[in-house]
Every structure is written in C-alpha cells, then in structure tokens.
Amino acid sequence: MKSLNYKYTIITSLIIAFLFSFNLFAQEEDASNYRMRFNLKTIKQHDNSRLLEASFIGQNKKDRKDRIPVFDAEIAFYNGTDLLGIAKTSNEGIAQLIVPENQIYTTDEDGYINFIAKFEGSDGLDEEEDDIQVKDLFLELNLEEIDSVKTVLVTAFTIDSLGVKTPLEEADLIISINGMISKMILEEGTIEDGEFEFEFPTDIPGDANGDIMVYSIIEDNDDFGNLIQQKSINWGTFKTESVKDGNTLWSEAAPIWMYIVLTILLVGVWANYVYTAINLFKIKKEGQEIALAAEKELEQ
C-alpha cells in the first residue's frame, strides 16, 4: 500500500510538472465560453460490483460540437454522505470508480440508493455535483437448451431488507452478444413480471472455440440505472479453418514446381559453365607443357 502511494505521488507530481510545462507554450484560454457538463452514471456489472462513472466535459456555448474534456480533475463519489472513493478524469473527461459487491449502501425509506459525484471546484472552474437514485436490482441470466432449443432466460428481482425477492414489474431489456469491436444486439424486448425468454439464433459463429458471450442489459432505467449481466456459452457454429494456405504465389514459400524448374535450369546452365572452365584449364595445362618443353629445348 505504501509503495502504491509512493507511485501515485510520482505520477501526480509528474502530471503537475507536465501541466506546467505545457502551460508555458500553450496559448492560455479560459473556460468562460464553455458550459460544463457534469454527469453521473451507474452501471451494475456482471459480478454485482458497481461502476460509478462521472463525465466532465466542457461544451462551447456557441458551437455545440466543440467539446473539451476536463483532464485530471479529482472527482469524489459519495453514497449519501459516505465517501466511496476518489478518481481522476481521463483525457476523455471520464472518472471511474468500481465499488465492490460487498459494499453496504445506505438507502432511503423506498429502498433507493443515493449516489453523488462531486468536483470541489477550483480558481477557474465552479464546483460541480450530480446525483442519481437507483434501486438495487438483481439481474440473472440463464442459458439453457430446452427441447434442444437454445434459450436465453432472464430473471430480474429486487430484494428487500428482509430478504424477500420481488420480481421486477416491467423494464426494457437488450440481449446482445460480443463482437471483436462492439456488441451486437440480437433482441430488444421487455421483462415482464421479472422474466424474459428468447430463442437464441442457431447460426452465430462465436469465437474460434465456438464460445459466445451473451449479455442481458438494462439501459438508463429510471429506477435502476444501468445493469449488465453476462455469460459465456459454447453455442457457436464456428468452424476452425485449419486449412492453411500451402505454397502459393502470395505465400512466403513458392509452389514446389517452381523450385524444381528453377533448380533444373540453373544446374543445367552452371554445369555447362563448369564444363567450359575445366576445358579451359586443360588448354592452359597443355600450353604450359608446351612452354616447358620449348624451354628445355632451348636449354639443351
């Protein structure tokens, strides 16, 4: 823990140095023309932990497309008056805090949890605060083959202080699967009386092992915020194409016949060169012998 602190101090000090250094040559401009957008969002994740996300972005009053994220601002997250944690905004203006599953929240009499995100304010920026009230909902995702029909079953319920489960009355639900770049929506439906059933398509390839990650998502619900539940299952029809491209024109190694023909041609030609060279040496040898003989004759 100590080393972690140490690390963070280094990072922070570097950040500060860094901010100062670019202040020197950056054109100074303040945020007076910008209206600050400060939003809090909560997402209950598949492991029942909760992600709190505050986005802090300045929007030009005249040109609405001109948006500048606030970088490195300290955001404090509260449950009522209890501090949950502090996070800094990224270069996209987003601060995130993950609250573990075992966190016990204080709720109001209707069972709502109150979340607050706060920016303390500085010389140039006003104090910002946003809050949301959500009920703690439990989303369960079950993937079953019922009479060999691949079925997605979703149940949603709340648990009151006495531990009694109450099915959710109604909420919009999205079923999607994961893609490499983004999730693909398979079905948009409604949970009624805490249940939703969906027949899973039979021709989704999934990944190389045929595994598919299935998500059930409740988005921007007034009472529950965002919830996401996920489960992986081997329902994919992916066929591993083990057929590797052999020797082709465009692979690294050429088709075998090309090597054979090239070798035959080269060996043929070079054999002839060698043959010529050998004969030249023979001629030379004979010439030397003649020269030697002539010399001997002269000597005699």
Partner: protein, 328 residues
C-alpha cells in the same frame, strides 16, 4: 523495484494487445491507464498532433497528442507483424448509398498515418458505370485481396499477406522497386518519392501495423489499422466517417460494425446486394460494397469541397457536364 513492476505491467498489456484479445470493455477501462503511463514517459518527442484539454483550473490547453495518447505501448515489430491476429478474417463493407464525399475518412486516415494533405491511403472516386447510370462516390481503400498480385511480385517479401486477411508493407524491408504498384489493379499503393522531415521523427518506433514513420524510397498503402484492431477499435476511416459508411469486422464471427450499429456481415451482404469491385480480376478482395441505391444524399453534395479537390475529378465526363451547366 517499483520500475520493474511497472515494466511488467506494461509488457503484460503489450502482449495482451498483441494477441488481440482485448475486449471492448477492457479497452475502455484501459484508456485511463494509457494516459497515466504516457505521462510517466520522460522521453516523449512531439508528434505535432495537438489535442485540446481543460485543466482542473479551468484553463484550456493544447497538448501534444503523444503525451496523452500513446501508440508505441503496443508496438508490434516488423517481424511480429507478419503474423496476423489469431482466428480473425477482417472484412470491410462500404455502403455507397450513404457516401457524400465528405472526405472525413480521408482526413482521419491522413491524421492517423501522418500523411500529408496530398497523400491518401483512402481515395474517393466518382464512378459512372455506364452513360445512363447515375454516378456515385466510391471510397477506395486497399482491398486486402486474398490472392494479392502485389504480394506475388514482391522480390523481397516486404509486402505480405497475413492470416487475418490483412496485406501489409514492411518499409524496413522494401527496396523500392515499385513492382507492387504496377501490379495492383486498384492503384492502391503510394510511393515516397522524396525525403520529408516527418520521416525522421522516430518518437514512435516503426511498425508495419501503423505505417508510421514512413521512409523515403519505399511503398506505403492502407493497412486496415491493425494497431487499432488489436485494441478492439475500428480503423480510423470508419470512426471518422460521420455517415457510418464504413463497416468493419471479422468475417469469422460474422459481425461488422460502423461504430453506430453492429450487424451480421452475411446478412448485410445478402440483404443489400453486396459485391466486390472488379470481381473478374480474380484477386478476391476483402472489401465489399453495398450498391448506391436509395441514396441518402444527392450526388452533388459531394462537390461541397474545396476547389482543388473538385479539380481532381475534372476528367470525369459527368463533372465536365456539370461544369458546362455552370453547376459547379
């Protein structure tokens, strides 16, 4: 001790990125990590690319993008880049009905690959199939063919076909014979004719996956942005297009996305009559086009660009007609 730990962490992440296993969720969570690490880096040279940020003090500052956005963390060396991302077969689908020559794909690509104003990996052509047909805008990246003639003719293996369908150029290996340029029937390749200052900027180590920095006397082309794909993000042209013209994805998982909607690749091609350009050449491209039917914009909207860009289409008969009528 501390440093070691850090290194380990970043190499782990690096390997992670190389494997292309990063799901979109982790990628978002990782964004802040990248920025933190970037700040720690002491030797960051300027890329010239600026990014505007607000400080907590309410000051607007322009910072060099390399300081907050660092590529090389996931640097893939030329040798490593010869292996594709496992089990992927990348495809692009371009919806011609939505294209209005806004040229954002061109600009986004130029920015990401540090190309000059006049250098385009992505070109937008004005095609008229026959005299009666209505012309349409055709964004033309590299088609990343399955049987690429450019790779066949390369004498040194500087350009290569990966298992994930991507055709890349390794400009460390390229000798600049230009044979690949002449053998590409789609004119997708460019050559670096002279020296430019940007080639000397070594702040970002060279990787064929980013095509940056380019090198004099070598060939370059559209690379499908594998560096983005490894992070689970779309190529730059697809993210910059305001119309969602460009869909990109993995044919193996049969999913393509343009950033807004995510659809089944096979269904898109089936329902919208997808085709490949100049199919008869037998190169088997991996870029598909959806025909320009039920268009969302009139063609003339595409001339809402700068004068010198319009000049680039002056040889098209249709443009000559428009000019005669005084419409441009």
């Amino acid at each position: 001790m501390e440093n070691n730990k850090n290194d380990k962490k970043s190499t782990n992440r690096r390997n992670f990125l190389k494997l292309g296993l990063l799901s979109s969720v982790t990628a978002v969570a990782g964004a802040s990590l990248i920025s933190n690490l970037a700040v720690q880096d002491e030797e960051v040279a300027e890329s010239g690319e600026k990014m505007r940020l607000l400080t907590p003090d309410g000051k607007i500052v322009e910072v060099d993008a390399t300081n907050v956005n660092q590529y090389p963390e996931a640097l893939v060396t030329p040798e490593e880049s010869r292996e594709g991302i496992p089990n992927r077969k990348f495809v692009m689908v371009i919806d011609l009905a939505k294209c209005k020559n806004a040229r954002k794909c061109v600009e986004g690509c130029q920015k990401a690959h540090k190309l000059d104003y006049n250098e385009e990996f992505m070109k937008v052509q004005l095609i008229q199939d026959n005299p009666e047909a209505s012309p349409y805008w055709l964004p033309k990246p590299c088609f990343h063919c399955d049987e690429p003639p450019c790779v066949t003719v390369c004498p040194t293996g500087a350009t290569f076909k990966r298992e994930d369908n991507i055709v890349l150029v390794d400009n460390d290996r390229c000798i600049g014979c230009k044979f690949c340029i002449t053998s590409c029937p789609y004119s997708a390749r460019q050559f670096n004719w002279g020296h430019k200052e940007k080639f000397d900027d070594k702040s970002q180590p060279y990787s064929p996956e980013t095509s940056v920095p380019a090198a004099e006397g070598t060939v370059m082309k559209c690379d499908f942005c594998p560096d983005m794909l490894r992070q689970g993000k779309l190529p730059h042209c697809a993210t910059s297009c305001p119309m969602g013209v460009i869909y990109f994805g993995d044919k193996n998982e049969d999913i393509v996305t343009n950033g807004e909607e995510t659809v089944r690749f096979s269904e898109l091609i089936k329902d919208r009559g997808g085709y490949r350009h100049l199919e008869h050449l037998g190169t088997k491209p991996n870029v598909y086009y959806l025909p320009a039917v039920n268009r969302q914009f009139p063609l003339e909207r595409g001339f809402d660009v700068e004068e010198d860009i319009i000049e680039r289409y002056k040889d098209v008969p249709f443009v000559q007609d428009l000019k005669k009528q005084g419409k441009i």
